[in-house]
């Protein structure tokens, strides 16, 4: 008999996310990874500012709510003073790749032994659909109403590509949760990102391509289609850095 149950690391409370939003799936994958590794009692999660601001209510580990973009710095403070904890940040694209760029880049450069879960949905969700650092060229948002113009609003940030150039990063992979196959793969990647921390390998970041039907103005189904057709070619899935495979190839 197959029992589909709530992971123990996921709190038994209703999530506030909009219908069709993929945050709930990613929360579940993070909780499953924590359960599989049996580390909920020594895990400290850092919630961001953005749609997942209430993540502190959704995980059964100790949680800290950080200021906008500062989660990697807060995580550094936790981990450096308590090296036996398992510390993860859960951040959106505005949090990680705009206001928190310095904190992200330098946590990576220092090789902080942390796990970063990065939700890229190309938009500011909580504030109602403004342009994100990862918004696509041409993408219409409330602050790029004529479509993102590279000449005016600049070009999107490719986070995994950028961070994989830093020596302190052990593992950087871009995954997607648009279909069961990709969800199963994302789970393996997230689990590896936590395992790396337990094995003291350095910083692991998993970028998850996600949907925002409410602010994209699309149905959940159309949103998954847009993710596959528009986002995936621009933000290719794959492993951008993995010190494990680098060691094997040496």
């Amino acid at each position: 008999m197959v029992v589909f149950d709530r992971p123990k690391a996921l709190s038994d409370v209703p999530l506030h996310y909009c219908p069709g939003c993929t945050h709930g799936i990613v929360h579940r994958l993070v909780a499953e990874a924590i359960d599989d590794l049996g580390v909920v009692d020594k895990t400290v999660g850092i919630a961001p500012v953005g749609c997942s601001v209430f993540a502190y209510n959704y995980f059964e580990c100790d949680m800290i709510e950080a200021a906008h973009g500062r989660a990697p710095a807060v995580a550094t403070g936790v981990k450096r003073t308590n090296p036996d904890t398992v510390v993860f940040t859960y951040q959106g694209d505005g949090d990680l790749a705009a206001i928190g760029t310095a904190e992200t880049v330098h946590a990576c450069a220092r090789g902080e032994n942390l796990t970063i879960i990065f939700i890229n949905n190309c938009i500011y969700g909580m504030t109602g659909g403004q342009m994100a650092p990862t918004s696509m060229p041409g993408q219409v948002t409330t602050t790029s109403p004529y479509g993102r113009d590279r000449k005016i609003q600049g070009s999107p940030v490719h986070v995994c590509e950028m961070l994989s150039t830093l020596d302190g990063v052990a593992y950087a992979e871009r995954v997607s949760v648009d279909c069961p196959k990709n969800i199963l793969h994302a789970k393996k990647s997230i689990k590896k990102a936590f395992q790396n921390q337990i094995d003291k390998k350095g910083l692991s970041i998993i970028e998850v391509l996600s949907t925002c039907p409410s602010n994209w103005g699309k149905s959940p189904e159309e949103s998954l289609e847009w993710l596959r057709k528009e986002m995936m070619p621009f933000y290719p899935l794959g492993v951008y850095k993995d010190i494990d495979s680098e060691e094997e190839s040496k």
Binding site: V44, I46, C61, I64, R70, A73, A75, V78
Partner: protein, 354 residues
């Protein structure tokens, strides 16, 4: 027998932090406080601790927040422009009720200002650290000994009241060398930290460190609870020194390096037959309003001396409810008054009184 050693103010503060059990420091270089970080960078690895240079003041204060959330004694230090950058983090730390120690070795401002001693961050430290209804405890040392003693006191107060405590020093105190005795202070009893987020170990419910309240009534309740603690601090933790105030007609009010200049001025004015005293606030928040109000019963005139354009002077007027005239004398931008400059001001006032 006391064990006095000769040290720079910044280094005495750093060593006192270690002796208070703070072996984790997060900071960013800025003049004139860099000796704090440099001293800790040498010492902390040898005592099993960590001195981490952050990418910015913003990151440093957020690292402090993470460490503080685990119940770890932790400190950051900076100078005026850097403290402005830390404002955001200070507000979050206050809103999350976390203890930590923040050092501001003040320099002249605004903007990039200068690198010479200043007290121009008085209003920021005591009234406007950051956004929101909040305070931090502010301690103002006036000697190398107090750089050490008040550092220890700051850690204890932060832990007892679950809030940030600030050492408000200046470039002169940071750089000067004097003898210091690290055993001069008894540590206080600290309540158990039940609120920490360091992994629940399956032994307790999860803890959440958070300053977000979507329900306005809940946010109000949390702020009101915090202000009850502030009232308790105002009642129990005010510290000040009175110097030759018993028969004084004129009382100087000054803190930090300025209070030392004023002590010399008091002696010189007394030699000239003018009855002058000094009240030196040691805690700038909470402010010694009660002591000033009492002095106003007998003192004829107050003279506030600061290294700024007149910031604490407002608190003196409020403390004595403007019952006596309050004059101000200050230098700013990194300029220091001489005792003679202060005596000149005293003589002007004394002429008016006589």
């Amino acid at each position: 027998m006391s064990n006095k050693v000769l040290m720079k103010g910044n280094e005495a503060l750093a060593e006192a932090a270690i002796k208070s059990g703070c072996i984790h420091f997060f900071g960013y270089p800025i003049t004139p406080q860099t000796e704090v970080a440099e001293y800790l960078a040498k010492r902390l690895p040898k005592v099993g601790g960590l001195c981490l240079q952050a990418e910015s003041e913003i990151a440093a204060i957020n690292m402090v927040m993470g460490a503080a959330a685990t119940g770890t004694r932790v400190m950051t230090s900076s100078s005026s422009p850097g403290i402005s950058l830390k404002s955001e983090g200070i507000s979050y730390i206050a809103g999350c009720d976390l203890p930590c120690v923040i050092v501001n070795v003040q320099r002249g401002g605004p903007g990039l200002g200068g690198i010479q001693p200043s007290q121009a961050d008085y209003n920021q430290a005591t009234k406007a650290n950051a956004h929101g209804d909040m305070h931090v405890i502010v301690l103002a040392p006036s000697s190398v000994q107090e750089m050490a003693t008040l550092a220890g006191e700051a850690f204890d107060l932060a832990d007892i009241y679950r809030m940030p405590a600030m050492i408000l020093a200046d470039g002169a105190l940071g750089q000067m060398m004097e003898p210091v005795d690290f055993d001069a202070r008894e540590s206080r009893e600290i309540p158990e930290k039940t609120w920490v987020t360091n992994g629940h170990g399956g032994k307790r419910k999860k803890n959440i460190v958070n300053s977000l309240f979507m329900d306005p009534a809940a946010l109000e309740a949390s702020v009101v609870e915090r202000f009850k603690r502030y009232d308790e601090i105002k009642e129990k933790e005010v510290k000040y020194e009175e110097y030759m105030t018993e028969d004084a007609d004129i009382v100087l009010v000054a803190y930090g390096i300025t209070s030392r200049i004023c002590k010399s001025a008091v002696a010189a004015a007394r030699a000239a037959g003018i009855k002058v005293g000094l009240l030196r606030p040691i805690t700038l928040w909470p402010y010694p309003s009660g002591a000033l109000a009492k002095l106003a019963d007998t003192v004829k005139h107050f003279l506030v001396v600061e290294l700024n354009m007149g910031q604490m002077v407002d608190d003196v007027k409020l403390s004595i409810e403007c019952r006596r005239p309050v004059s101000f004398f200050g230098r700013t931008g990194g300029m220091l008054p001489t005792p003679d400059d202060v005596v000149e001001e005293i003589k002007k006032i004394a002429g008016g009184i006589a």
